[in-house]
Amino acid sequence: MSKLYSGAEIVFKCLEDQDVEVIFGYPGGAVLPIYDELKNFKSIKHYLVRHEQGAGHAAEGYARSTGRPGVLLVTSGPGATNAVTALTDAYMDSVPLVCISGQVPTHLIGTDAFQECDTTGITRPCTKHNWLVKDVKNLSQTIHKAFEVATTGRPGPVLVDIPKDVQFQKTGYTKFKTQKKINGKIHNKFSQKEIDELIKLMTLSSKPIFYTGGGVVNSGPKASELLRELVNLTGFPITSTLQGLGAFPGNDSQFLGMLGMHGSYEANNAMHDCDLMINIGARFDDRITGKIDEFSPKSKKIHIDIDPSSINKNVKVDLPIVGDVAEVIGSTIKTIKKVKPNFLKSNNQKISKWWEKIEKWRSVNSFDFVNSSETIKPQYAIQRLYELTKNKDTYVTTEVGQHQMWAAQHYKFDKPNRWMTSGGLGTMGYGLPAAVGVQVAHPNKLVIDIAGEASVLMTMQEMSTAVQYSLPIKIFILNNEYMGMVRQWQELLHDKNYSESYTAALPDFVKLAEAYGCVGMRATKPEELDDKIIEMINTDRPVIFDCLVDKQENCFPMIPSGKPHNQMLLGPKDQQEKKITGKGKTLV
């Protein structure tokens, strides 16, 4: 007879078979049997967080910086509900997570037992799928299926809820073999005909643009390489969503910067005026499209996505191609090389006028700002941070708000998986725990959380985790004492009624850092910024860097709500010089 294993052992045997090396978690009554087994599985390292949301975001940071699924282990009831924000965040941003939660013993389910909640019910809308395992015989199969669902197709979070009695029950375990069989939910059935049609449209176009998103990053490093090849091969301009940054080099001349609500003037105008839009792994999010009726009215639209339900969800497209980004781009390049070997040459002429137009938009220099010698401008702080860290293969996470947009505008990424930010859900408090997860995955790399003082306070307790495991993350706080983006919207949309967006009692971040046992630093003047940033980079311990910035600064350019892409609101410098108001600046 084969050896019998307890449910708790099976959990770890499955994780071992899935090559999981790291889990983030927090113990509690309903997962104690699993925690008891931890000591017997040396290949798996557990990181104790301070709050289950932190475990979730850390697992997200781990997953997004490695391309592998992140695993978290939480207890029943509050453990599971605390993880819900992180699961939802991962669901919105397509991050593969496997959450294992404890549950009260099966005979107590439904009795309102201590720390009981309907975990599968609560997490049903925020996971790709979830399971309540009521019989230990189904446990290993369920966990392996969970990994498969999380990592295939459009990635996302899954949850396996394991009652405490199931963790004690014993059964046999057969080693997991990766199956070659393609699961029914994977959609990679694009045809050569679609590729031919794509190339035909590319040949006909005189005003094309690539609009790429997080799907390129999710498809793996190969997809980014192929994207670079395709863009070079065609000579087309390219813009990226917030999540896609890094898939294409941020300082390449063909790159127009990020698009969308706070995207560049050239990217948004090019999106509006183009005659061919090639969407690769993006989802026509409302921060990108603005008013749908007036979104890029004159263009043919191609949408390459692995998720069939992303096609025609927000914007009707002319040519959908359902498939993995790397494979679609791969076949496109192959076909172009075969049928149109001198595509670039024959096309350069055709799109030269288009590039002229784009260069005019680009000369507006829409990310520009009025610098100051008195106070640190937040944009300046990020520019300096970028200049001083760009040669270090730096990983950047962010919180949510103005600082996030400035980071996206001014920090240039040239590799995928280096930029972790909460885009879909917009979760304040994401960046610090995500940085913990990134640093765990890349112990010798520089990991910076570009933060706002309001966001970072939401998950500040995870500094304690960073200190415990000697994770030298750098928390770079652009401190303006306001919830900056809320303040900006209140200024622009609600007649400067700054309702509850000022934090009147902030902690002293330097002392707070010291209390946590890490290093606190503060910069108040522009001239001291560089030295302090260098000092931060050279500190081999976790750092909280309190960068006091201009309190009134707004994030521009901006597409006002309900406006199309070609009616952007530009920054104060431009408004002073050209007296352009919200409405009149259609074309340069």
Binding site: H129, S309, W489, P560
Partner: protein
Amino acid sequence: MGKSRSAYSIPGKQGKFDTHIIVVWVDNEAGVLARVVGLFSGRGYNIESLAVAEVDPKLNISRITIVTTGTPQVIEQIKLQLKKLVPVHKVADFKREDKKVIFKEMALFKVVGNNSKKEKALKACKKYNPVILDKTNKSYVIQITALRREIDVMTKNLKKLGLISVSRTGAVAMTRGSEIFK
């Protein structure tokens, strides 16, 4: 800044609504109905009626029939989102006007009254294959199968003939002829 005071876009033009019957084949497992129904409520889709039962005990398959309304774009989304659910095997979609498909609902009517009233009620149901399921001196329980709007009409008409209680199912659907879906 214009009139809009929201950081979200304003709604665009609303398309025309059609009624569709969506048939979903799913694994008959705990929570599967909640997943399907939750998808509809979570994404703001409409459910007019719902019928669900296991149809293949050996393969453990249930068949869910949902009557819904939406723009063509929404109907397309409903199908694609349903197909993404792990326990869903296949999804069929029929327009209510589709002649190749049969739609039926079942209704039970409890009619109370004297013999003449009861007989009148039964006669009124004649077109819809009435079956008397229960009979007492004072009452009938009549079963009919018909279309939704026909049952609506019957429910109204039988009021004056002693109808005191109605129970009805959601629509079920099947294609005509020897073909099956997929």
